[in-house]
């Protein structure tokens, strides 16, 4: 009997442990899926740093406007940059620097004891005159810096902290240390330098301009927080993709809204703890980003959340059938009573449709009108929704009792006390 009891206990422990193991494994399965699903901007943020352009210094092409000496100097700068394993951006900075300092000439002199294509100074430990008149040496010194006989190191480009993210002219200045009034002087050579690089490398200007794209741009979480005040109509109709989503929401990334027929960049926020079942908010919509929650733009999100908190405090917990709509979704709906594409507040992430209110969801099916012309419903919940809507900058549509919006397109037509007409 005792043996049987032992087996029962052991069996139960094993089963329990196994379930824990299994559930844990499944949890990690879900966690990994979830993590990859929400990492939607990865493609856009993949580093695509432009590789160095290759150049054959023994067979240089003729390039109008440049002497053979200039072409040779330019090609050697590019080659040294490539040989050192640096990027196209580094090659470009080298070329721009030599363009500013010497017009790509291997000068025998210059200001004070400056010499060579980069106008480096022997007295400052950059090398001997002979060395500095060798473009390959001069370029290497520019990129890598030079160890002085005193034990100090003259920093080159790659010694400069953060040179890759500095402006080109700042990076060049950080090595050359010009007088303050010349610190921006390198910038103007970028366009010409890119063209010359494309000629020497035998590729198009476009192909020689990879560093015009910075994959990190737009990938940091935005730091601008929507002000506590309601957004003005002007703010709502301009690029707001830099405005961060508030706590209590999930950042779905930058997207394009629509206002008066134009596409406007904005940032979409998925509001945690809401339920939305319509287009572009259903789980998996919006290219997999939507989470079955209300999606509004980051300027509206804090005010929508305050509204929701207030109506919940009144005992209501609304669900939603529509929030942000993409341009394409609006285009598919457009016609009849639905706003034409580019003219719906849904497209700016500034409107929501509340589901579950009694009565047919037909336009003009209003039980009356509020003082602000909002189309009324007799449902007690509607009164709460409307009251707190006004408190937080939103009105109901004047023909649809379910459509709450932070007025954009219709502001001039409605006597909206809190949003100045356009």
């Amino acid at each position: 009997m005792r043996r049987i009891l032992t087996w029962v206990i052991v069996g139960a422990l094993v089963a329990g442990a196994s379930v824990v193991v299994g559930v844990t494994a499944v949890f990690f399965q879900f966690a990994s899926v979830s993590s990859s699903d929400t990492d939607s901007t990865n493609d856009a943020c993949t580093d695509t740093s432009a590789q160095a352009l290759s150049v054959d210094t023994s067979a240089l092409p003729d390039v109008a406007g440049y002497t053979s000496e200039q072409l040779s100097v330019a090609a050697q700068i590019m080659k040294i940059g490539g040989d050192l394993g640096l990027s196209e951006r580094a090659q470009l900075i080298g070329l721009m620097t030599a363009m500013q300092e010497s017009s790509l000439q291997n000068l025998a002199g210059g200001d004070r004891d400056s010499v060579g294509a980069f106008q480096q100074r022997p007295s400052q430990g950059w090398g001997t005159v002979e060395q500095l008149r060798d473009p390959a040496y001069a370029a290497t010194a520019f990129f890598r810096g030079v160890d002085r006989s005193t034990g100090e190191h003259n920093p080159g480009l790659i010694d400069i902290d953060g040179w890759e993210s500095m402006s080109l002219t700042q990076a060049a200045s950080a090595v050359q240390l010009p007088a303050e009034q010349y610190e921006d002087a390198y910038a103007k050579h970028e366009s010409e330098a890119r063209k010359l690089m494309s000629e020497l490398a035998g590729v198009s200007v476009g192909q020689a301009s990879g560093s015009l794209t910075d994959a990190n741009l737009g990938c940091s979480a935005p730091v601008n927080v929507a002000a506590g005040d309601l957004p003005t109509q002007e703010q709502l109709t301009q690029d707001s993709a830099n405005v961060a989503c508030p706590d209590g929401s999930t950042d779905l990334g930058a997207a394009s809204g629509g206002y008066q027929g134009k596409r406007i960049p904005l940032r979409l926020c998925s509001i945690t703890g809401t339920v939305c079942t319509g287009s572009d908010c259903r789980d998996g919509d919006l290219d997999g980003k939507a989470r079955g929650e209300v999606v509004v733009n980051s300027l509206v999100a804090p005010h929508f959340m305050k509204w929701l908190e207030a109506v919940r405090a009144d005992g209501y917990n609304p669900q939603f059938s529509s929030s942000f709509r993409s341009w394409e979704t609006q285009a598919s709906f457009s016609g009849g009573n639905v706003a034409r594409v580019g003219y719906s507040n849904h497209q700016m992430g500034a409107a929501i449709d509340i589901s579950g209110l009694p009565g047919g969801y037909n336009r003009h099916n209003c039980s009356g009108f509020a003082a602000d012309d909002s189309c009324k419903s007799n449902a007690p919940a509607w009164s709460s929704y409307h009251k707190h809507g006004v408190e937080n900058g939103a009105l109901f549509h004047d023909e649809e009792f379910w459509h709450l919006e932070w007025v954009i397109t219709r502001a001039p037509e409605r006597d909206v006390p809190f949003i100045p007409a356009a």
């Binding site: 052991v10 094993v14 089963a15 442990a17 196994s18 379930v19 193991v21 299994g22 499944v26 399965q29 493609d43 856009a44 695509t48 993210s165 402006s167 080109l168 002219t169 700042q170 970028e190 366009s191 010409e192 476009g206 301009s209 015009l212 794209t213 994959a215 990190n216 741009l217 737009g218 940091s220 601008n224 993709a241 830099n242 930058a254 997207a255 394009s256 596409r263 406007i264 960049p265 572009d280 259903r282 789980d283 998996g284 919509d285 919006l286 290219d287 079955g292 059938s321 529509s322 341009w327 394409e328 979704t329 598919s332 709906f333 009573n337 639905v338 449709d353 589901s355 969801y361 037909n362």
Partner: protein
Amino acid sequence: MRVSLKSILVVAAAVLGILALVVFSPENRQQHEAPQPEAAAPSVTAGSPNETATEQTASPGPAEVPEEVQEFIDSYADPDASADEWGRALAPNVTPALHASLLSSDRELARTAGHEILDVSDGRVSVGTKTDVSYTLEYAQFEDDHEHDGHAGASHPIVTGIDFTDAPDGAALPLGTDGVEQVRTPVQEALTAAVAQPGGQSDEDREQLIRDTFTSPEKAMSLPRSVDDGAAVRIGNAHELVLAAEDDQLVVHATVPYARDGESSPEWTTVTIELTRDDSGAWTPQDAHL
């Protein structure tokens, strides 16, 4: 034979662990729970459908597909239809972007693709001749979910992408199931020419770069500079690419950040890039507008 308690415990734990994994696996959960809308909801950005996606219905059995998908397969392989007839026949059953890509695709490839359904699973249909799969299409169920006017929702399948198995080099292919990736590179080149600016770029330089990048840059020439003081401007990669069609031409609405060189807080713009085919059948920028 005496079996140790330790051995029994190890075996029991392994068996029960596997059992728990099977019972709780996501696949099985989907079978036991109500259909999940997200399971097959197609990407709005990837297809710009006429209507909005809802859940995928259960897949038909082998060689059995929705009527609309069958219509597409038959129309696509129709060897006799004129170009206009062919385009009109395909239009109702594909997304606008896919339709636009089909109109400029290799018709001979379509004629020889066959129309036998060889496999059907999870919204994907393999089509070919006898046992050779020529292409696999993906379809999704779309539902018109108008709230307004009490509009009754209508639902129908629509083809969202076509992946060819062994397309010959240089064939002009229709948009695949990952159409965004097919156009990402030419769109980024277009954005570089239209939005980014090298320092010191003159108007003439910019116009030349636009002419070199776009095949017919009428509207692109009118695009304003991203900053008008001649400063250097960088762009990020496009963060949102929406495939769509304008006048039966494939377009991409690209939302991209840009900033002055050395600054990290970007502004954003959305540019519409019109795409055409180059000699190799690949997509290349034709023009652009805001």
